[in-house]
């Protein structure tokens, strides 16, 4: 089994590398970073532009494949901080990723875990009470949430929070940025960060849970009619006991893969949330990179996402094997 997971890991690692290289090639082909330096007043001499762009390794006068080769060469030979080059703000991409990843992951991890728990709970709840009023309410609520664009949901939450703050007369819920600058001391800082986390986490958890609950409900409905649930009840387990111990346990198996993959893609999915709540996270970085035709920054973002996906896919394999004895070899 371990060797199987190791093999899968190597496969995923190769895919990650390929994906990043392809994105670099695509971005280098379609982006036109030179525009940034053209049409300035006073105009920048072409030689200077060339030297700036060459410094970043993104001079369009060099063939794309050659630039890609240099980029790969830098990754292999440069010391860690310089591996992914510099973005157009002249910050090392690796350094940016390190500072932003913490911000993003703090938001994502909490949100994703809450979403998973809520999703499983409401999915099972809906399946067990299929077509009853409670199931209908859960279903319609999740449909509404799924069809609401993230930025609309985020803004509605902000409006609600502002109203709440106005009603109480205190600035209780602060939601701009990841923290308030200027606060000192461990506890005040922690409190402050927690408060800032509140709204985006609620948004993330609600939207995630809505999707999960639909999937969990469908899987659970399949399991509900299984013979082994009937066997468990014939042994003397009550309906609830049989459903939780035998039903949910089996229904979690396909969910585990879904969770793990979803977590990998959350980074890109939550980009809008980061922008709405002004979090300097990875999603925001990626969008900025596209807007500014920043090849290095985009390649770095994609590389980061791909690595997250690599980790979560491997995790899903481990999780699947842990949950389902039939695939352990």
């Amino acid at each position: 089994m371990t060797s199987y997971i190791l093999r899968r890991f190597v496969n995923y690692a190769i895919l990650t590398a390929l994906a990043t290289v392809f994105v670099y090639i695509a971005a280098s082909t379609f982006f036109y970073p030179r525009r940034r330096y053209l049409g300035r007043n006073p105009p920048i001499p072409e030689d200077s532009i060339d030297s700036i762009l060459t410094g970043y390794g993104i001079n369009d006068k060099d063939p794309v494949l050659l630039r890609t080769w240099w980029w790969i060469e830098r990754i292999v030979t440069n010391p860690l901080p310089d591996k992914l080059g510099h973005d157009l703000g002249n910050n090392a991409v690796i350094a940016e990723i390190f500072s932003r990843a913490g911000v993003s992951l703090r938001l994502l991890l909490v949100g994703a875990i809450i979403a998973a728990f809520l999703g499983v709970f409401f999915g099972v709840w809906g399946a067990v009470r299929q077509y009853k009023a409670s199931d209908q309410i859960v279903s319609y609520t999740s449909f509404i949430l799924i069809s609401t664009p993230t930025f609309v949901g985020g803004v509605i939450l902000q409006i609600l929070a502002t109203n709440f703050n106005n009603a109480t007369g205190h600035q209780l819920i602060r939601f701009t940025g990841a923290y308030t600058p200027g606060i000192t001391g461990f506890w005040p800082q922690l409190m402050d960060k927690g408060v800032h986390l509140l709204l985006p986490t609620i948004a993330l958890a609600l939207f995630g849970a809505a999707g999960y609950s639909r999937y969990q409900r469908a899987v659970m409905l399949d399991v509900l009619g299984s013979d082994f649930i009937r066997t468990a009840r014939a042994k003397g387990a009550t309906r609830t006991h049989a459903l939780v111990k035998h039903g949910v346990r089996v229904a979690l198996i396909p969910m585990s893969t879904y969770f793990a993959y979803n977590f990998g893609t959350l980074v890109s999915g939550s980009a809008f949330l980061e922008i709405i709540f002004s979090w300097a996270g990875m999603g925001q970085y990626g969008i900025m990179a596209v807007q500014q035709s920043d090849v290095n920054a985009l390649a770095g973002t994609v590389c980061f996402t791909a690595i997250l996906l690599l980790i979560s896919s491997t995790l899903s394999e481990v999780l699947y094997a842990a949950l389902d004895p039939r695939v352990r070899v």
Partner: protein
């Protein structure tokens, strides 16, 4: 009379449905005494499973239940889930049909047995529960129970899973065990093992057992009392001997007469019980069996008969004409007369050229491992060198357990390509030398009928198109096709007018007739029949078997009849080939092989088949095979049956060595070819005491 353990009074169960309520159970009364073994028999859809699920309180919440069920004086229907859960598993246990889906795939067998214990005895320590689980597995005859208790259900074979189910049911020494078709999904040799385990479970726990089955043979050998169900009602109950010897309800009579009996098959024709049970959502007026009953009178179509006690023996019958039947003025032989039996002329001297002739036929499947770099890690020897011949106008019966390679053998014949090894001749041609065009032309000569008639046809094509399809392949003009379709439907006993209808409008037996018509339309010489009746209810099996016999004799067809049911094979076949692990272990004329089986496997197979006659069943000597068929991927030195052979332990040491070291080649003994070193010693199996052969010994 002591109070019965379980009493069911006027039980009705209906399922609300858009097109009218489905009345699955319509007023059933029965009781089970302490320690009694009751059999409930009926065709699929007769309500036998639903009524016992109602007893356990395990019906879906959409079911509407009325009536009264009392267990030890407590009324069960009013109880909530919590109260019932305290009874379930402790006082009443249930064994289900499909043991793979009935066990939770993610918990070990041990955990699932332990759960049954801890649910009712919170104080029990984990250690004690584990010990008890191992002990239970030993009782139900699972070898190496200490190790196997940690195995997951998918690591068990079908028979072992069913043993584990029985262990779970026995765990709390219940006073009632309900077994719902416990052996239907299993091979006949495994069925014999499981029935023995069930009897043992009854002895060990002292429980009453309710055995629900459609197989009259299974009932005959095991139960004390029989209840026959039809269309949601009991139609006859009584002691097993009397029901079998003198049935009083025409449905029971028809059922009993339609079942082939392995001991007498082949000397008379089967009695078909035509038609199908009524739709439970739209029941006709009167007796629900009237439409299929040859003895029905006007009053039968007007009022439904009540289940009444007819005499002092406790027999109950629901039939308007029960008095006439009891008095002997209306006899079973008159209601269901046996169709006339014609002695067939079988060419004694085999001067005729065989239609199919296989020599040393081999089909191996390589076993791969790895997703990226596939490498062969073994070989599944599905068919491992078989010789057989099918003579014109005759039937070769191919029997064996599932996984013995009988279907692969028949598909090799359908393939019409060069076999991996050996040779295959069809209608005088060597199939390895056929050109593409010849092969296409030859496909007309070899046709197949599949097991499940519904799965084998496109449900969205009208029957006429289904039957005509082989002709479109062979580019027959449209007008000609239509004429042939009508002719074929007529031939298999269907109305040619039905050609426009769709498969779902037909009953199981009719669908199989459609399958036969489709196979016959190319005027084949050879028909491969792959378990053609095993998916059908017993009552309609007889009609299809009779039709196949008639068609063979009328059209001069040759059959390769693949089946696991030895009674039906005796009925229809002229020659029988017994397969085990890809080899034919015994091959010979049906009369000879059935009269004196010479291979220990053939003996075991035959003794495992239940006979629908309680008296015979009680006195029959059973050879119960130990364990399961080994995997066909295993490399076995010597005889591949040695690991399960009942004979080997009765032989002196020197002879045993030969079985383990030398692979037996088929040798002619009398009229049959037998692959066994010790054919002369086979009579030793007769002298051994059946009890000492039991597979249910503590391992």
């Amino acid at each position: 009379m002591p109070e019965p353990l379980l009493e069911v009074k006027d039980l009705t169960v209906s399922f609300p449905n858009a097109s009218g309520d489905v009345r699955a159970v319509r007023g059933v009364d029965y009781s089970v005494a302490e320690g009694e073994f009751l059999g409930i028999v009926g065709e699929s859809g007769s309500g036998k499973s639903v009524s016992s699920l109602a007893v356990m309180g395990l019906l879906p919440s959409s079911a509407r239940i009325t009536g009264d069920i009392t267990f030890r004086g407590q009324s069960l229907l009013g109880m909530g889930d919590k109260q019932l859960s305290r009874l379930r598993g402790r006082e009443m246990a249930m064994i289900f049909q499909d043991p793979l889906s009935a066990l939770t795939p993610v918990y070990t067998v041990g955990q699932q047995i332990e759960e049954a214990l801890t649910l009712h005895n919170r104080g029990i320590s984990g250690d004690l529960a584990h010990k008890r689980a191992v002990e239970l597995l030993k009782i139900v005859g699972i070898p190496a129970a200490e190790r196997r208790v940690k195995a997951f259900p998918h690591e068990f074979s079908g028979g072992m899973r069913q043993r584990a189910m029985i262990a779970i049911a026995m765990a709390n020494d219940p006073s009632l065990i309900i077994a719902d078709e416990p052996t239907t999904a299993l091979d006949v040799t495994i069925q014999a093992q499981i029935l023995e385990v069930l009897q043992k479970a009854k002895e060990v726990t002292g429980a009453s057992v309710v055995l629900i089955t459609h197989d009259l043979g299974v009932v005959a050998g095991n139960v004390d009392r029989v209840a026959v169900m039809y269309a949601g009602k009991l139609v006859e109950t009584g002691p097993v001997d009397e029901i079998f010897s003198a049935p009083r309800m025409p449905y029971t009579m028809g059922l009993l007469r339609s079942v082939p009996n392995m001991l007498t098959a082949g000397s008379s024709r089967l009695v078909p019980l035509e038609g199908r049970p009524p739709n439970l959502a739209k029941l006709p007026q009167g007796c629900p069996f009237a439409a299929r009953c040859p003895a029905a009178q006007d009053r039968c179509r007007e009022a439904e008969p009540e289940l009444l006690v007819t005499d002092g023996t406790g027999r109950q019958v629901a039939c308007h004409r029960a008095d006439e039947i009891a008095a002997g003025t209306l006899r079973a032989v008159d209601i269901f007369p046996r169709p006339p039996f014609h002695e067939r002329e079988v060419l004694e001297d085999r001067v005729t050229e065989p239609v199919v002739s296989a020599k040393g036929l081999v089909k191996h499947f390589p076993l791969y491992k790895g997703a990226v770099f596939r490498r062969a890690v073994g070989t599944v020897k599905a068919v491992d060198g078989v010789d057989f011949e099918v003579l014109p106008g005759q039937t070769l019966g191919l029997v064996g357990e599932s996984g013995s390679g009988k279907s692969t053998t028949s598909l090799e014949l359908m393939e019409l390509t060069a076999p991996q090894a050996g040779s295959l001749h069809v209608a005088g041609h060597d199939v390895s030398k056929l050109s593409k065009a010849d092969r296409l032309a030859m496909r007309k000569d070899v046709q197949i009928v599949f097991q499940d008639p519904m799965a084998a046809v496109d449900p969205r094509l009208p029957v006429g198109d289904i039957v005509a399809e082989p002709l479109t392949v062979h580019k027959v003009p449209r007008a000609e096709r239509q004429r042939k379709v009508a002719e074929m439907l007529e031939l298999v006993g269907l109305d040619p007018e039905m050609a426009d209808r769709y498969p779902h409008e037909f009953s199981g037996g009719q669908r199989q007739r459609i399958g036969i018509a489709r196979a016959l339309i190319t005027e084949p010489k050879v028909l491969v029949l792959d378990e053609p009746v095993s998916a059908l209810d017993v009552s309609v099996q007889a009609g299809v078997v009779n039709l196949l016999e008639d068609l063979r004799d009328k059209l001069g067809l040759s059959y390769l009849f693949v089946a696991h049911d030895l009674a039906i094979v005796r009925e229809i076949a002229d020659t029988i080939a017994v397969m085990y692990l890809g080899r034919i272990v015994e091959y010979g004329p049906v009369a000879e092989v059935y009269a004196s089986p010479r291979h220990p496997y053939t003996r075991a197979l035959m003794s495992a088949v239940p006979v629908p006659d309680p008296e015979v069943e009680r006195t029959r000597r059973r050879i119960i095979l130990a364990g399961d068929q080994p995997s066909p991927a295993e490399d076995i030195a010597g005889c591949n049956f040695a690991s399960r052979c009942p004979l080997i332990s009765l032989l002196p040491e020197g002879k045993q060595q030969r079985c383990r070291g030398e692979d037996p080649v088929p040798v002619l003994h009398g009229g049959s070819r037998v692959a066994c070193h010790h054919v002369d010693s086979i009579s030793r199996l007769d002298t051994v005491d059946a009890a000492s052969q039991s597979s249910v010994t503590s391992a």
